[in-house]
């Protein structure tokens, strides 16, 4: 599946872009994580949540929609 990934906050600084397309066969939560860590090793130091079609998902759910968002915590105020 061709995933459309949006990077929020510091993740767009780390990846150098606000969004990109990524082709992953039968994607699951961990598949996606693994290929992201491959491309951007420093992502491992940053916590984030994965949202699929605007809903945060938890570990090891299959990904059934191409609309992905990666959300890190923000601390600024």
């Amino acid at each position: 599946m061709k995933l459309e990934i949006k990077y929020y906050g510091i993740l767009s600084d780390i990846t150098g872009q606000t969004q990109e397309k990524l082709e992953i066969e039968n994607p699951t939560y961990s598949h996606l994580l693994a290929s992201l860590y491959d491309r951007y090793p420093s992502l491992e130091d940053t916590p984030f949540k994965i949202a699929v079609e605007n809903q945060i998902i938890n570990n090891d759910e299959p990904i059934t929609n191409h609309n992905i968002a990666l959300l890190p915590p923000f601390s600024g105020g």
Binding site: Y8, G9, I56, A69, S75, G76
Partner: protein, 370 residues
């Protein structure tokens, strides 16, 4: 009726006329706002617009908690303050300006820092808590306190050009820990001071927090329960991201009934801490001020180095060998991060000062006059 109103009923009707004209608010809704008690923690970028709109809206009791002083670098976005406020307590300056905006409400200034001991007691009298803080430690204390006290937490946070808003602990919705169960590792997420922020961003996000507060008090519309609103000022793209409730997470906090002492408790690595009076009694002490050059007040200490936190790793060689290194900053957050960093670099005898620079400054003044 409302005993603290110094004005005639007519007059007070006039002030809130545009609210009362709205069918969904009316006189009854306005009276509800006048009876409400809201605590705003942090009178910074987010807190200023929240306070301005809530005071203007006639929130009967408005608490302000902040122990910082107004600095010149705040004025680019914290529009409640004036140049003449520089050096004054934020909580007290905010109270002064808000009292001028609306003298009909009660404004309580808490010129102190939230911590694990005082949070539950300070937040208890209020109906709604607004989180306008700038660090994860305080955000997790506010979350846990509002879970334990069963009060809504109006969350807002910003990064460069992007903001997040949501309502936690309301209508069986999720808490902050349902989204992020534990705080991120130190240094993994920088704050505004380190990376900068567009001045208007906290204005937008803080105004949205004030909006959520009013909606909940008036019981109108759909508060952002279980939905994280993400807003980008550069593209105007907004998304609403669903946050599932993690019941186990919430029950664990409820069952604990008290707040965890430090973020280190979550991470299972305690940071060695000292208070100022203990520190000055130690032999061979080197103080390190981790703040950026414009932060005030400067402290007249001997054996003092200025190394901003972001430069610490590359400037370790500037430290006097074999000293007792005592780190401090404005609030105590950066100093803990610095000690963790030093410990990772295998530097020994590092301590984080429990007091921030404004508190040490006060202590030094007391010592001088004693």
């Amino acid at each position: 009726m409302l005993s603290y109103l110094p004005f005639q009923e007519d007059n007070y009707m006039e002030r809130y006329n545009r609210h009362i004209r709205l069918e969904a608010i009316g006189l009854q809704g306005q009276k509800r706002l006048l009876a409400a008690k809201v605590m705003v923690i942090g009178a910074g970028g987010l807190g200023c617009p929240v306070l301005q709109y809530l005071a203007a809206a006639g929130i009967g009791t408005l608490g302000i908690m902040d122990n910082d002083v107004v600095e010149i670098s705040n004025l680019q976005r914290q529009t409640l303050f004036r140049t003449s406020d520089i050096g004054s307590s934020k909580a007290i300056a905010a109270k002064k300006h808000l009292g001028d905006l609306n003298p009909e409400i009660q404004i309580i200034a808490h010129n102190k820092k939230l911590n694990a001991q005082n949070a539950l007691e300070l937040l208890k009298p209020y109906d709604i808590i607004v989180d306008g803080t700038d660090n994860f430690e305080a955000r997790y204390w506010i979350n846990d306190a509002t879970v334990i006290l069963n009060k809504p937490m109006i969350y807002g946070a910003i990064y460069k050009f992007e903001g997040q808003v949501t309502v936690f602990n309301h209508q069986d919705g999720p808490s902050y820990r349902c989204l992020f169960p534990t705080p991120p590792k130190p240094l993994s997420i920088p704050n505004c001071e380190e990376v900068g922020v567009l001045g208007v961003l906290p204005g937008i996000i803080g105004t949205l927090q004030a909006n959520e507060t009013l909606k909940i008090l008036l019981n109108i519309g759909m508060p952002l329960v279980g939905k994280l609103l993400c807003y980008n000022t550069l593209t105007h793209v907004q998304s609403l991201i669903g946050i599932p409730r993690n019941d186990q997470c919430i029950q664990e906090v409820k069952a604990r009934k008290t707040l965890l002492e430090t973020e280190a408790s979550f991470e299972c690595e305690a940071v060695p801490q000292l208070n100022f009076l203990e520190a000055i009694k130690k032999d061979n002490v080197q103080f390190i001020d981790l703040r950026s050059p414009e932060e005030q007040p400067k402290l007249p200490l001997e054996e003092l180095l200025y190394i901003p936190l972001s430069e610490l790793k590359s400037r370790i060689n500037e430290l006097t060998p074999y000293a007792n290194y005592v780190f401090f900053c404005q609030s105590g957050t950066r100093s803990k991060t610095a000690v963790r960093l030093m410990l990772q670099q295998k530097v020994k005898n590092c301590y984080s000062l429990m007091e921030g620079a404004p508190e040490i400054h006060q202590l030094l003044e007391q010592i001088k006059t004693a």
